[in-house]
Symmetry: C2
Subunit: 262 residues, 2 copies
């Protein structure tokens, strides 16, 4: 529906596989970090017998460009449960992403359940029109339009310069199929939460993103909650949780990002 699966195609096998950074998955011209994380996840999983990401870390070394991306994969080893892989992604011979992930099979996972990372229900919130809709009240990047992102209007103080609230944001994607790679993209889909604390006179490029995948999502809208609590020397964390339409936790992520004044 969003066309994401077609934009995450990987070819080849073994140590070297090839992907392609597609057009239309960008933030005002720059390939989106969450999309690149999803592409990295696809490259890690491709052709293996471990269908599920458990933890994936991506370091962003330089801007990606639309075009082919080469992934050099090294299986470091594994335990009974997990396989751990290190990957470098390069374009035109230059490293763009450094990736490490542990994968496995969660089909028969059993274990206790306790606590919660969210009590938000979008049904109780006033939502913005979908990103890119004619009636949209603020500009959205192409990647947000692809997923039909709607923001909880109680959390978009940055639009009017109101920085009095917590630096947190909530949004929900359009109805549609969902899988772990969609959820991985979604954890980076909202505007920077820190804009609600410091205003939007800064760009916040990601240094590193780590995502824990906690479940295979059910199809339907994904609920995204992002927050930043501390900026120190211009560096900040951006935490996000993604829940599926059934309220199940799917992804918990954290980025280290760097405030860059514009």
């Amino acid at each position: 529906m969003t066309g994401l699966a077609d934009a995450l195609t990987i070819e080849g096998e073994g140590a070297l596989v090839m992907g392609h950074v597609h057009e239309g998955w960008d933030v005002f011209g720059i390939p989106h970090g969450g999309y690149l994380a999803a592409l990295a996840g696809a490259a890690v999983l491709h052709g293996t017998d471990t269908p599920d990401l458990f933890s994936i870390t991506v370091h962003y070394l330089r801007k990606a460009a639309v075009g082919p991306m080469r992934f050099d994969r090294t299986v470091v080893g594994g335990s009974r449960r997990f396989t751990t892989t290190q990957v470098t992604a390069s374009q035109d011979g230059r490293p763009v992403l450094a990736i490490m992930a542990s994968t496995g099979d969660r089909a028969d996972l059993q274990g206790p359940r306790w606590g919660s990372l969210s009590d938000w229900d979008p049904a109780g919130s006033r939502l913005s029109p979908p990103a890119g809709a004619p009636e949209a009240t603020f500009p959205s990047p192409a990647v947000a339009e692809r997923l039909g992102l709607r923001m909880d209007l109680a959390t978009v103080g940055f639009v009017t310069g109101d920085t009095s609230a917590d630096a947190s944001l909530r949004g929900v994607t359009a109805d549609g199929p969902a899988d772990q790679l969609t959820a991985l993209l979604a954890c980076d889909l909202t505007p920077p939460a820190v804009w609600n604390g410091m205003g939007r006179e800064g760009w916040v490029p990601t240094v590193e993103l780590t995502a824990h995948v906690r479940a295979r999502p059910a199809d339907g809208p994904l609920r995204i909650e992002a927050s930043t609590r501390a900026v120190t020397d211009g560096f900040l964390e951006e935490d996000a949780v993604v829940h599926d339409a059934t309220g199940q936790l799917v992804v918990q992520s954290r980025q280290l990002a760097r405030w860059t004044a514009v």
Copy 2:
């Protein structure tokens, strides 16, 4: 003072360097995950011209043992500001840790400051005797004794089976020298925070730990705050923040861990 520096010695140069997992940095016989993360950090930094860790991720593949540890290092590349390195650590020819880190030099870092990750001041808390002291009220692993960990007694419900509180724990180390590797160890130093929610009938081995180093710590006690918010299918996050004696944020970490009933 704690002897940590002597337990983090790295030898060699270039792609292959050697460390040693020392005795006395364990959790009831098993080398401590935070100590291993500090050793991994030392191995990443050794002999480079980048003195500071910014983000380090460690995947724990199998139990480490006291003895030599070999680190095979690959510099993936770097931006103007960061160098990114992938490392595998092995013992007796078997992979034990998979590591990825971005390093740089924070000496002249400048940037905005906003928000906070803590409002705790140990001076206002009733603290346990130091770990390992004759008057200690609960058993502590060797690594906690090394750092003289004292727990905020308001946060040790697990000792008496009181699981009514949030799954959070606070502690403070003894006075002494502090550096980024001590802080890295410290982010994993408390008992599992989830014990305050689910009781201590579980062991919580780390699958993956990512730590953001936010500052070079001042000498003095380190304040540690750890928490868990959600367990799903037996997997959980353990978040921790470490502040130095001046109240400065030094490390923010997150683990993916797995509940294992005992």
